[in-house]
Amino acid sequence: MCLGIPGRVVDLRDDRGLAMGVVDFGGVRREVCLAYVAPEVQLGDYVVVHVGFAISRVDEAEARRTFELLKAMSQLEELDWLGEVADRGPA
């Protein structure tokens, strides 16, 4: 549960004072809170995301290596939940 998933920041915006953005995880895109890595984070940067929050910045090589490993370990459940939430719609 504590493993963060690395992804690339593809959009940045401000939601009523909170730094938000969109992060691309190997093709799956997701809204992410960037408050903890702002103001340094820029478009195209790689961040480690845990439960919808970027918790640190990493370089591209580390991001790719970790993502591939998580995939191999089938530890990308967090991304599966996205699918689960989307499929079911409002309960």
Partner: protein, 371 residues
């Protein structure tokens, strides 16, 4: 047993294994306190490859597994209320409570929703002002910044129908509890890389000094783990007890400062019960007084729910490293991932589920209680 050819870097792994075996003049006992590492170790059979040089004990490193039954029962009580929409991360839904689990509450018509981020729970609250929306705030230090932000945001945006059922735990007090146990056998620790991403490792320094144990901040790839083990074994052989960082490419000494700051503004240290370990003083996070309005336990008066853990489940002995999962009489028979009796069988990061999923049905003769 796994084959080294399955590793991405078999040559590196092999070299590390060789160095660990050469370095160890006796069999050292190490504990990893990270569910992700437990998963890797059991899946790749690292512990079996190391046999003779190092015994790995799988510590209380899976937040799902250490959440006490009492908190699950509180969640179930809330989820069953007609005025409540109960929101949670997906992996808490199948954790057995005294009578049922959250999935069953949902199938009986309870409003239980899986969210990916606690901010999603806040959005649900904003969209349903006529309902009480409760979020199950569980996890270690990695998850605390997200949950702190949800509460902070709720206050900032004036969302009053939102509250959190907090069951946060922190790693360093669990390490102390393991070391304080009179029958402790653990001589060194691998600390969880991703937990330290947020917190850094300053909190481990006094522990390493006080208990004279090496603590190595370690990633969760097989090669990371082997490197972390080698660093710990070197320290033990040389009589050192320091905090070292194997995971330098992702972790710094002070962590992610803005995240630590918000966690400290929203939460304070509280005594917390850990499944199988009992109450550990100042081992959890609870909401500060000024955020009491967002505390589901206060709002719904849950203080009176008190339950004991099921006797058959030996989760406590597993988490403390006294037994390996197959030594539990229920393992693989009455307790399986489909019908878990205890939390370590629910999450894929739990030691019992990892042993079950990777076909470890027998206890190796050398493992077990004797030291």
């Amino acid at each position: 047993m796994k084959y080294l050819s399955e590793y991405r870097d078999p040559a590196v792994a092999l070299a590390l294994l060789g160095r660990i075996t050469q370095t160890a003049t006796r069999r050292w006992v190490l504990m990893e306190v990270c569910g992700g590492q437990t998963h890797t170790i059991v899946r790749q059979g690292l512990d079996q490859l190391l046999e003779g040089a190092v015994e790995m004990i799988h510590g209380p490193g899976c937040p799902v597994c250490v959440t006490p039954l009492e908190q699950i029962d509180k969640a179930l009580a809330l989820a069953g209320r007609p005025d409540v929409i109960f929101t949670s991360f997906g992996d808490m839904l199948r954790v057995p409570g005294s009578e049922c689990d959250l999935l069953q509450v949902r199938s009986r018509g309870g409003a239980v929703r899986i969210v990916y981020s606690p901010l999603d729970a806040l959005d649900i609250a904003a969209a349903h002002p006529d309902k009480e929306v409760v979020f199950f705030a569980v996890g270690f230090e990695t998850t605390a910044p997200a949950n702190a932000m949800a509460v902070w945001r709720a206050r900032q945006l004036g969302i009053r129908n939102f509250s959190v059922l907090v069951s946060h735990v922190t790693v360093p007090p669990a390490i102390s509890a393991v070391l304080d146990a009179p029958d402790n056998r653990v001589q060194g620790f691998l600390a969880a890389g991703h937990v330290c991403t947020v917190m850094g490792w300053t909190e481990y320094e006094p522990l390493a000094r006080r208990y004279r144990v090496p603590i190595v901040v370690t990633g969760f790839e097989p090669v990371d783990i082997l490197e972390g083990i080698l660093m710990a074994v070197r320290q033990l052989e040389e009589g050192r007890s320091e905090v070292e960082n194997q995971y330098a490419r992702a972790v710094t000494r002070s962590g992610t400062v803005p995240a630590r700051e918000l966690v400290a503004r929203v939460f304070c240290l509280v005594d917390r019960a850990w499944r199988g370990l009992g109450v550990i003083p100042r081992s959890g996070l609870g909401l500060r007084e000024e955020f009491a309005a967002f505390d589901a336990e206060v709002r719904f008066g849950l203080g009176s729910i008190r339950v004991a853990e099921p006797e058959e489940c030996r989760a406590g002995d597993v988490l403390r490293g006294k037994i390996k999962p197959p030594a539990c009489a229920a393992f693989g028979t009455r307790c399986t991932p489909l019908h878990p009796l205890g939390a370590p069988m629910v999450s894929s990061e739990g030691a019992c589920a990892a042993y079950y999923n990777y076909g470890r049905y027998r206890v190796a003769a050398a493992e077990g209680v004797a030291g």
